[in-house]
Symmetry: C2
Subunit: 221 residues, 2 copies
DNA sequence: ACGGGAAGTTTGACGACTCAAACTATAGGC
DNA sequence: GCCTATAGTTTGAGTCGTCAAACTTCCCGT
């Protein structure tokens, strides 16, 4: 396969393209995500473009080609299956598995990947609620809404956590907010930029609107 | 830790030192095992020496320092635990896990390693019968003898398989020779350079002396 | 005890990836 | 419509690991 470095660029561009309305990633953002200077990102993106993995022209945005998207989904599959394995089988904390998976995902061969998938029972979602691409590169994105868009009194299940920094995940779990747990919106305070949520165990937590926009909910009825 | 390349050199030197009577590895052998030219091996060994991982002087043999040995044992622990995991948990074939482990061993963090060890129940041996170094770098080498040194009529358990090339492992299993299975030496034919062994299931197999020297046996009484 | 071949070393170059810093295009404010 | 701040690009250089090929040392056999 592509080198580890190339895989990391593909992942970054994939993620940034999804997040941006235009479906394109900027050099500055790519550089920031990969952790290099913009100059380095430019030359690397040129290489991706000449390998037909990305579409790019000078001073224009960067996006993945079909081939690049396919490769990115493959990496995402490896990443999310590894995360699931680390939590389900090795009982590691969901807050730390992201960084571990980041290293392991590049060393997983197709053989090991499919064995892992079988062992885990072909899961559709990883421990953070992110959908796992299928072996043939299909990605199921269920209809869920950001907690920040739920009104007072809304109820549902916590479906997915987008912000996977260790401290964010620790905070959520410490307050009873885990994937698949039932939650209810207790109150919304636009003035304070705050949303108060009640967890399954009855406890309440306040989240900022920014934090709430990164928690996705499967709303009920 | 050290870079992946450095880890591979350490592993190679460790293995070759054990195999050689002098406890030293030659440049040519190191180069062959790592898969580079001797020139490359020379410059790399120099680097290991200046990092105090290896002892070396021009035109002299190469051996590991205490620090280098410690690092090599750590890599060996990762390798063998990963192999055990691939066979025990993921049900992969013992004949293919070596190459897979070769890639994965470099991506395993201490955290994942210890979780793996716990999950597997702190095994002492991997699927090929190789002892797994403990977390503090102790390696238990049980008293076992090469099959090639067993006389006619000797009985015992197959303890360990040194030759881990895919075709060798496939051959052994195809003939009922697996780690922990009971075997008996049916006849020894020094003239033909051949040893005939009876497996647990009653079938007989002929092995060359070279092949038999790479199969270790725990002899009974 | 020496000559030749094997083992080991050195040198110069290269590809992958990176940075710092000089440079250029673009878009938004006035 | 110009002008500057910001985003992006280019260039020159460095590190790591590698090779090919020229070179040196060692040691064995006669």
């Amino acid at each position: 396969m592509a080198t580890e470095t190339v895989e990391n660029y593909l992942k970054a561009i994939y993620r940034l393209s999804l997040e941006s309305p235009a479906g394109e990633a900027s050099m500055t953002h790519i550089a920031a995500v990969v952790g290099v200077t913009t100059g380095t990102a430019t030359s690397m993106v040129k290489k991706l473009a000449s390998a037909r993995l990305a579409k790019y022209q000078r001073f224009g945005g960067v996006s993945l080609s079909a081939k690049g998207t396919r490769a990115a989904l493959d990496i995402l599959r490896r990443h999310r299956l590894v995360e699931t394995f680390l939590v389900e089988t090795l009982k590691l904390d969901w807050a730390v598995v992201h960084d571990e998976a980041e290293r392991l995902e590049h060393a997983i061969s197709p053989l090991v990947l499919e064995a892992l998938d079988r062992h885990l029972g072909n899961p559709s979602f990883d421990p953070h609620g992110d959908p796992i691409p299928s072996a043939d590169g299909k990605l199921l994105e269920p209809r869920v809404v950001p907690l920040s868009e739920c009104g007072e009194g809304a109820m549902g299940r916590l479906a997915r956590v987008l912000d996977q920094r260790e401290e964010s995940l620790r905070f959520l779990r410490r307050h009873g907010l885990e994937v698949a747990s039932r939650i209810a919106v207790e109150s919304v305070e636009p003035g304070a930029g705050i949303i108060v949520v009640r967890a399954e165990d009855g406890r309440s937590v306040a989240l900022s609107e920014v934090a709430a926009s990164r928690v996705l909910v499967q709303v009920e009825e």
